[in-house]
Symmetry: C2
Subunit: 201 residues, 2 copies
Amino acid sequence: MPVKKKTELSERSTASAEDVSRHVCTRIHDLRRQRGWSLDVLSQLSGVSRSMLSQIERNQANPTLAVTVKIASALGLSVAELVEQAPTVHNIEVIRAEDRSHIFRSDENCSIRTLSPLHLEKDVEFYEVLINPGGSLRSAAHFEGTREFLTVQKGKVTVVSDTETTELNRGDSASYRADVTHEIANSSRTDALVFLVVIYQ
Amino acid sequence: MPVKKKTELSERSTASAEDVSRHVCTRIHDLRRQRGWSLDVLSQLSGVSRSMLSQIERNQANPTLAVTVKIASALGLSVAELVEQAPTVHNIEVIRAEDRSHIFRSDENCSIRTLSPLHLEKDVEFYEVLINPGGSLRSAAHFEGTREFLTVQKGKVTVVSDTETTELNRGDSASYRADVTHEIANSSRTDALVFLVVIYQ
DNA sequence: CGAGGATTTCCACTATAATGGAATTTGGTC
DNA sequence: GACCAAATTCCATTATAGTGGAAATCCTCG
C-alpha cells in the first residue's frame, strides 16, 4: 500500500480533525442553551464536570470519546447524531425526517422537534409536536406578548390558554396567547401530530 | 428541571459511555485488519502514533474526539459511520445499502463492499464490487486453493485468471482460481456491478 | 530450528483532559 | 447604583491521552 509522506498528511488531517472536533463542541453549547440548561444541569445529567463542559464548549479542551458519548447521551442523542455536521451556511437548510438531533424535548407522552434552524436569540421558532393518546404539553407562561400558532395534522387536540378552551380536529388551526399558562392535549385515541409556531414579543 | 441524584446517573452513564467507546475502539482494530493495514500504515494515514493506535485498539486508552476524527478519516469513514454501532449479535444482521462503513477498498475506478459480517478468520467473504467503465480490479495470487465465484448484475465484465479469459454479460456467473493473478475488468460503457464470493483454502 | 524483517507491544516522558472548589461575571430587583 | 442569586470561568491538582524509541513477538524462508 503506497503511503503519502507523513508530514503532509498529518498536517492536513490534523487541521481538519480539529475543525470537526471544534464544531461538535460548539454544537454542544448550542444544544445545551436550546434546552435552557445550565452547565450544572448538563453536568449532572452527563456525569461530566461543569468545568470540563465549560472548557469543551469554549474549545479549550478536546473531549475524549467516552466523554463525548456521555454528553451526547445526556442530550438524548447518539454520538453519530451529535457529530453529524450541519456545517457551513447554505441557501437551503434541510432537516431530514429521521434526524433526531433536532429533538428539543421528549418524554413518555410528548416529543418536540425544532423545524427552524436552531440559532438562538431569534424571535420565532417552528416546532413539530407529537403527542401520545391522553398525553399533553403543558407550558408555563412565556414572555409577555408571546403567541403560538398551531395546525393539527393528525389526531384531535384540545387547546387551553388561561381560562379559554377549544377543540381542534385534523386540518384545524388556532392561535392563542402563550404569555399565560397554556396546554395542548391529545384528546384522540391515536397519536396527535401538531405543527407549532411560537412568536416572542 | 428535575435532576436525578448525581451518583446514580454518573455511574450508569459512565459504564455505558465506556462500553460504547470500547466498542468503537475494537471496531477500529477490525476495520484496520480488514483492510490489511499494519498499525504503521494507519498511523501514517491518520497522523496518530503507532503506539497510541495500539493502545486504543486494545482499550488501554480512550481517544480524544480529534483523534477519533483522524482515525475515522483515515479509514475513509465519517465519525458517525465509525461510531454507528453494529452491536450485539442478532439472528438477522443487516447491512443497509447506504452504509459506507463496510467499504473494503475504494479507488477512482473500483469500489468494494463487504456484504458478509466482517469477522475475520473466516474462510468465506461476500463482496459487492462496483467498477467504472474501463476500470478493473486486479489481484495478486491469494492463498493456495482460493477460488472466487461471481455474478454480474449490471454491465459487462472480462474475467482473467492466470492465462485464461472469459467475457461475462449481465446475469452471467463464473468461478475461477484466485490463487493465481486474476482480474475483473469492466468492458462495458456503463458501470459494472458484480457480486463476488471468495473462498479460501 | 535459527536468522532476519515486519509488526506489535512496552516503557519513559510530555502534553493535556478532567476534576473540585474558589473567584468572577451575569442578570434581575429594589 | 448596590445587592443577591445563578451561571460561568479560572486555578491548582490529578489522571491519563499521546509520543518516540527500544524491546518483544510474530512470520516466513532456508
